[in-house]
């Protein structure tokens, strides 16, 4: 009788313990399921957003110069110079990677461009360069007037200041330090 009682007691304890552990496991799994459902919802939204913005996302790449696109880009700058009537010469071309970032997908292209031309043409050229469909950053721009026959001096100390007339030989020389982002080759 004692042994039988003990057997029933042990069986009861076992069933009670199983119910308790099953309850805990179910609770954990329900939490997990709740997180999974949220993750599922987020993934679903992300997938929809990616599908809807596929064109815009692929357009992001167009703001970077292609790995082999340096020469065509320089060609574009020179063509732009011709279009706006300014002389363009490329001083230097260098590519720099960020040493802090390993496996970086991009690098910075540094260009030094020398241009000569009239003030208005150069300003229009500068605006065109800044508005190129790339991530153009002008690190330094130096405008210098060359060949001003009168050296800008004012004649006398008259109270009335006559407007200065520019000569045809008057040109501005501009040096541009341009940085752009490009994909690594």
């Amino acid at each position: 009788m004692i042994i039988f009682s003990l057997v029933i007691l042990v069986a009861y304890g076992f069933v009670f313990w199983r119910i308790y552990t099953d309850g805990l496991t179910t609770s954990d799994l329900l939490n997990q399921a709740s997180l999974d459902f949220e993750k599922d919802e987020a993934l679903r939204n992300a997938k929809i957003a990616l599908a809807e913005n596929r064109d815009s996302i692929s357009k992001i790449d167009s703001y970077f110069i292609a790995g082999d696109g340096v020469a065509p880009f320089i060609g574009n700058i020179e063509a732009l110079g011709k279009q706006y009537g300014v002389g363009v010469s490329i001083g230097s071309v260098a590519v720099e990677s960020d040493p802090k970032m390993k496996n970086d997908f991009k690098e910075t292209l540094h260009l030094k461009v020398e241009t000569t031309g009239s003030w208005s043409n150069i300003v229009r050229f500068l605006s065109a360069v800044e508005n190129l469909p790339y991530h153009v950053v002008l690190d330094q721009v130096v405008f210098g007037l060359t060949d001003a026959a009168d050296k800008l001096s004012f004649g006398g100390v008259s109270a009335v200041d006559s407007k200065r007339v520019r000569t045809s030989s008057e040109k501005w020389k501009v040096s541009l330090d341009i940085s752009l982002l490009k994909f690594k080759q």
Partner: protein, 180 residues
Amino acid sequence: MFNLLPEVEKKKILQEYNVRRGIVFFVFLCVSLGIALVGIFPSYVLSSIKLKEVKDNVSLVQQSSLFQEAGQLNKDLSQANIKLTALQADAPSVLIGDLFSRVIEHKVVGVRLNGLMYKKGATKDSSIVSLSGVAKNRESLSNFASELKKEPLFKNISLPVSSFAKDSNAEFTLQITGSF
């Protein structure tokens, strides 16, 4: 009556009573535990079924095609994010052509410029525009500096005192700092 019995008989009877009490106790215990076991069994079955159901649901969600694509989706999103962050960094707040145009707008009659320089600063507030030129007289130069100070884009206008040394045809260099 019980007291009339000999001591040995008394002990035997008491022992017999104790055994009977024990049997009754254990019978009740067995019956009670049996009833409890039967009573708790449906709960055990229900909790097992519930556990199985939740396990099935979780594995169903985790095996969905969306979860399999999660890695690729995260990769695509993070790549787009990294590219956007790279493009946002160093984005100019004002075009240099416009910046020079604003400087020219403030030029007064008695001042002629022969050099302009823009240098991007390490921080957004430390970019510099440097101007050089010739001023007809001190008053023109002073007026030009005052006009430039009216431009909200320019934080600080620095004009060395030495620029005022000559009263006519004074060559000057002026430095503007600001967040451009």
